[in-house]
Symmetry: C2
Subunit: 345 residues, 2 copies
């Protein structure tokens, strides 16, 4: 497992962490961090125009959540407000613009956790819910369950008064092209007598992100949420880390709120979000230190991605060990940033 | 949340822990622990004949796994061998004899994790797989994924050469009666204008267990597995803790192997299996101490259940905060037990 590429991932992870934002402790600080996915973001392919679009949408989403906090709203409301905007944008792999599964349909996962009560909600494999993050919240607040899946989750949505949208609402031309390319690569592999997609292929198609937000409100409560369209050319009802409480999402007032993005299988195995919180809880680690240790674990197994986290003192971190992660934060002390590559925000 | 019942749960948890087995450290010790579910097990309703049946089946399953270990087999093989026997028995809520969902069908979840590689596999909501634990293992070993769900998981099974069984294979008369009773209670609640099932109702129907096994082999490797039929009268594609890596199942050679059973929603929120391992990893806690702390967390939120765990030194623990937990263990130093109620095994 300790191959040279693994070592490079590890190193990249540490460098990314070195660029993470760390703010001084303050009782009354509030704010939020958001991400729009980590992965191979090609600097050359990202035109100035496209980059401006990403930055504008990340800013819009951040400000929507921040306004909730500024007006005294809850961390949970801020997380939802931010994620809904990212879901509604075709730029990100969540809600509209989600990647296409092998059958050409979008299949969406989302989860949310309230740090105040440690209650949580998640949905996996829904196909007709415009904003899966709001359904995850409904599961948390209106059902005795944490996780609902597939058609059953949509039956619950109908009971809750949701209007289902046709799957075509989510589908975009860009994602159809990505699916076609993925299928061509898969076919090429098969004709080369490789029965299963190899790791480098998976590495490429796993890179189309996720969105997430973590927030600390004026009352000192934390919340976290994550939403995704999963993997291009996904088969077999695969569930990644985004709807798994403890992997893609975790929040507890006693520790921190975390949302993850990356190669889901590795994030589940490490239990990324919970692992970061556990280091704060059981060894008194700092937030940035804990996130770095956890991402290094992911890298040591061969995976990659990034996380965003905030604690009750308003410290934030947003490390990643990929070439880029769409991300940003804003705190009530005025500190804020929007970033894509390894620049120190 | 800190009601009197909660306090009692907490206390029962500690008492159960006090009765847990703890063995001296030894490099070459190997063995396994298994459970057949924790819940309200009524001493009076459990006839001597029925109790003997449970003890015999638990013993048979334990010996099947132990034999694998004794012959130098892997912890993973031992876990599968043990769980397959529990799945095949109608006595436990897993495989044959699983509880029925609201639509009268059995819907099965399982997961497995190999502590040597920290690889994991899980299936959720399968309806035609005789031994879901073996499919969880196939997901781990033959797919690039960790978690597959529903029809998709069964498509993968077919690709792997599985023969699907009709859902009727799993269904038993006893479980049909339980479903009818659950539906009658639900209807009574609704006619009493209570729209959602209340907690005490959920508490009852959540109690029909899960099966699991954790093992340490002669090479010093750990593995854990869990399999369940979920909740009686289950709706909306609900997914509990059993197929969630970090909640129902976790194994890492560096810490321990854990399988959980109980009220799944609370076990997901706490991330039970990973939380126990995290205490060993980050604060050097003992296995029994860590399991007790984690179960106390579950209790403080209002949930209950039990766990089994083993570490690389062959220490074992099997605490619960319900009236009983079908459980047993056997170690290569000769120590062994089969137990149901709070007796010190």
């Amino acid at each position: 497992m300790k191959s040279i590429p693994t070592f490079l991932f590890y190193l990249t992870g540490l460098l990314a962490v070195a660029g993470a934002a760390e703010t001084p402790r303050s009782e009354k600080l509030y704010g939020l961090v958001l991400h729009g996915g980590a992965g191979v973001i090609d600097r050359k392919a990202l035109t100035a125009e496209k980059e401006a679009e990403y930055r504008a949408k990340l800013t819009e989403a951040r400000e929507a959540g921040y306004t909730v906090l500024q007006r005294g709203g809850t961390a949970l409301d801020a997380v939802i407000a931010t994620i809904v905007i990212l879901e509604d944008s075709p730029l990100f792999n969540a809600g509209k613009g989600a990647v296409l599964a092998a059958d050409g349909k979008c299949e969406l996962d989302a989860s949310v956790m309230d740090g105040r009560t440690q209650t949580a909600g998640a949905v996996a494999g829904v196909r007709h819910i415009k904003n899966p993050i709001t359904l995850a919240r409904a599961v948390m607040e209106k059902s005795p369950h944490v996780m609902l899946s597939g058609d059953g989750a949509e039956q619950f949505a109908k009971q809750q008064g949701y209007t289902l949208v046709p799957n075509e609402y989510f589908q975009t031309e860009e994602r159809r092209v990505q699916l076609e390319k993925a299928k061509q690569r898969e076919a090429a592999k098969k004709s080369a007598r490789l029965e299963t997609p190899d790791e480098s292929h998976l590495r490429r198609i796993a890179r189309y992100g996720t969105v997430g937000c973590v927030a600390l409100d004026q009352a000192g409560n934390l919340a976290a949420g994550t939403s995704t369209g999963g993997m291009t050319n996904k088969k077999f009802g695969r569930i990644g880390d985004a709807p798994i409480i403890g992997a893609g999402t975790y929040a507890a007032n006693a520790t921190c709120a975390v949302s993850a993005t990356g190669w889901g299988e590795y994030f589940i195995r490490v239990g990324v979000a919970r692992d970061i919180a556990a280091q704060l809880e059981y060894k008194g680690a700092g937030l940035a230190e804990a996130a770095a240790v956890t991402l290094a674990k992911v890298a040591s197994l061969g995976g990659d991605g990034g996380v965003i986290a905030i604690n009750r003192q308003g410290q934030v971190t947003m490390p990643f060990n990929t070439t880029g992660m769409y991300r940003g934060y804003r705190l009530s002390n005025g500190k804020n940033a929007i970033a894509i590559f390894g620049e120190t925000p």
